[in-house]
Symmetry: C2
Subunit: 364 residues, 2 copies
DNA sequence: CCTCATACTGTATGCGCATACATCCCCTTC
DNA sequence: GAAGGGGATGTATGCGCATACAGTATGAGG
């Protein structure tokens, strides 16, 4: 405790102190059953005495495996962070009784949940998880070299880079549809989920005037959801549009903007099927603000099943993605591939759940 | 791409192909300015050609630094996860039109935000973040050996273990009060925040019948918040209680239970000051369910400032902890210590913000 | 022309550990 | 009582890279 870290002890130090060879020290950690109890005790004592902690780098190098999984996240949208926060060490407190405006919830529960799932599953297999933000070659330098395999969200790493990395370690891509590459993929059934949602609105609520509010045009998830929407309409004998009515960028504030625009244009359809929850919540905000009633005047639905969809008024009817399971399945897939590199490319699809709540007129 | 990963290329392979020595290859990555352009080009070509990615383990070993920060989280409460999720590779979808009951939001935005802050700040300094769940000696084996320093939430790692680890790498503890140890600490001003909140209720709303709903008795955060509550009352000339009226476990469902109990006992005070948001939200649920009005009949306040506090009806008056900044400050402190191991133990306190919303009668 | 600084590049070594292989000891077996 | 076997431990080597140091080439200065 009051030690000034003179020098990190190594196996050699422990071996000397315990009066054994370094091989024995190593064995005490890796193959305890191959060491006699008496020897083990002496080594343990030396370890405690010296405060020895095995070097992960050396171990990884010698063992030819890192014992870690890499998780690569998209650049936190716009969250550059700026300079580090000021820290007052004198316990000063700033009381702001008039917050200028409530902060927008981060809403990235999606990532958090995926991360959590990854963490849980990796932990169960004795693997650590190393996280990195995709930005420039950081991944290349910081992540790829130190993990046994990598999990990434689709479109977060430039294809060139990913291909390069994939030559060394297996890569699993979460979300998005198979892009003709050779990676393993894990996704949710966007198409079926959205189709079910669409048909529910038509079947259960008798609405035939539906419009789709999409996300970024280059999002494969959005693409699939729109496709599900079209298939749903088609199945109900309704002519599907070739394009979404509007496109947002998946954020709530943008959703609000879209909502306002619709109201101002005076062309609000009976049902607005949104490509994700944030957009739907934003639209909800805008509609309610103008006095329109949901679901009486307009039905609004989302996709994802983030927490906020459950606490809104009215609560949002949506399609829940098993986000945590997504992370877990990705880890499983990765580990399977590590076990058998010759496996053909895998594609896993997780089932979704349609959650019917107030915003579509159910549970009214 | 269609490569079967014959063998991971090393500096030697690259050097051979480029017709240079391994030192030059290494330099191309570490000290590009010391290599002539022509040589660099040849090496780069070889790298691309072979799909070379430097081994993080070898680099860390040779450079004597891992280039990573460890983040140690408490065991996800009760989230064991069970077996991995089933994955259907045929695109099957399960539609559950009657969800048995909405799932309780995970609510662990706190951890997510801290993690995010850590990630952001680490990234700014070219560091990777490796996450691990505190459980048994996993940290010891998996984390401590592979990072340059460690950040942990208070009370998540057994003291013995932490002390052992701290002999090798610096440790920064988040939240909780300084425990007489020699680690660096980063926390928020629980006392001042709660005192300000308490005094606001008395001053602005003229309420003098306040009660405190606490969390686990062994939580240092809870302890400090109660202390702030008492100080607030004292400052207002009100005799403070020696114990919280009730104690929960910081979960929403438990908060609901506490709320019901209060109503049934018929002893609901004019204002309920809760030790965290989840508890407050649970109490809100219970009170509203019995027809009581908030804030007209009862004032309820929280602490933390999680997203859900902003979407509840009425919105929750609370004290916002700068969760993301907490993570960032922890990283900063860690890096500072790495730069100067002889620094005396640091204790940083981040300012909190009192957010006045409907549940206390403001913004009514 | 020779000296010497400058700009590159190569050689050799060690980082801390895992592990194949060799060694040694003690006990069993016929 | 010699041969053989299994358990416990030691010896030696390499994992892939960074880097101190030594070498080479080139051009400037005298």
């Amino acid at each position: 405790m009051e030690n000034l870290m003179p020098k990190t002890p190594t196996v050699y130090d422990v071996a000397d102190l315990a009066g054994v060879s370094i091989a024995t020290v190593s064995r005490v950690f890796r193959k305890p059953h191959k060491v006699s109890q008496a020897t083990k005790d002496r080594v343990d004592a030396a370890v405690l005495n010296l405060g020895y902690v095995p070097s992960g780098s050396a171990r990884s190098l010698a063992a030819r495996r890192a014992g870690a999984i890499g998780l690569c996240f998209p650049d936190f949208d716009g969250i550059d962070g700026g300079p580090a926060p000021v820290v007052y060490t004198d316990g000063r407190v700033i009381e702001q009784f008039d917050p200028p405006e409530d902060v927008e919830p981060s809403g990235d529960l999606y990532l958090s949940e995926v991360m959590l799932g990854t963490e849980i599953e990796a932990w169960r297999h004795g693997m650590a998880v190393t996280i990195a933000v995709a930005r420039g070659n950081e991944i290349f330098d910081n992540l790829a070299g130190r993990v046994d395999g990598m999990i990434t969200l689709s479109r977060t790493v430039p294809e060139r880079l990913l291909a390069h990395i994939a030559r060394n370690i297996p890569v699993v891509v979460i979300a998005g549809t198979r892009a003709g590459d050779d990676y393993d993929h894990i996704g949710t059934d966007n198409v079926a989920g959205m189709q079910a949602m669409t048909q529910h609105i038509v079947d259960a609520h008798g609405v035939r005037d539906l419009a789709f509010v999409g996300g970024p045009a280059d999002s494969p998830d959005d693409h699939d959801r729109f496709e599900g929407f079209r298939m749903g309409l088609q199945a109900e004998g309704i002519e599907p549009p070739s394009e979404p009515l509007l496109r947002g960028d998946f954020t709530r504030s943008h959703g609000r903007m879209l909502g306002r625009r619709l109201v101002e244009a005076g062309q609000v359809p009976r049902a607005l099927v949104c490509s994700n929850d944030q957009t739907a919540l934003g639209i909800l905000d805008a509609l309610l603000a103008t006095g329109l009633r949901v679901p009486e005047d307009v039905i609004v639905t989302g996709f994802d099943g983030i927490d906020a969809s459950q606490t809104s008024r009215p609560r949002l009817t949506t399609v829940r993605q098993p986000m945590r399971e997504l992370g877990r399945a990705a880890v499983d897939t990765l580990l399977r591939r590590l076990g058998d590199p010759l496996l053909p490319p895998q594609t896993g699809t997780l089932p979704v759940t349609v959650l019917l709540r107030e915003s579509c007129g159910c549970l009214a």
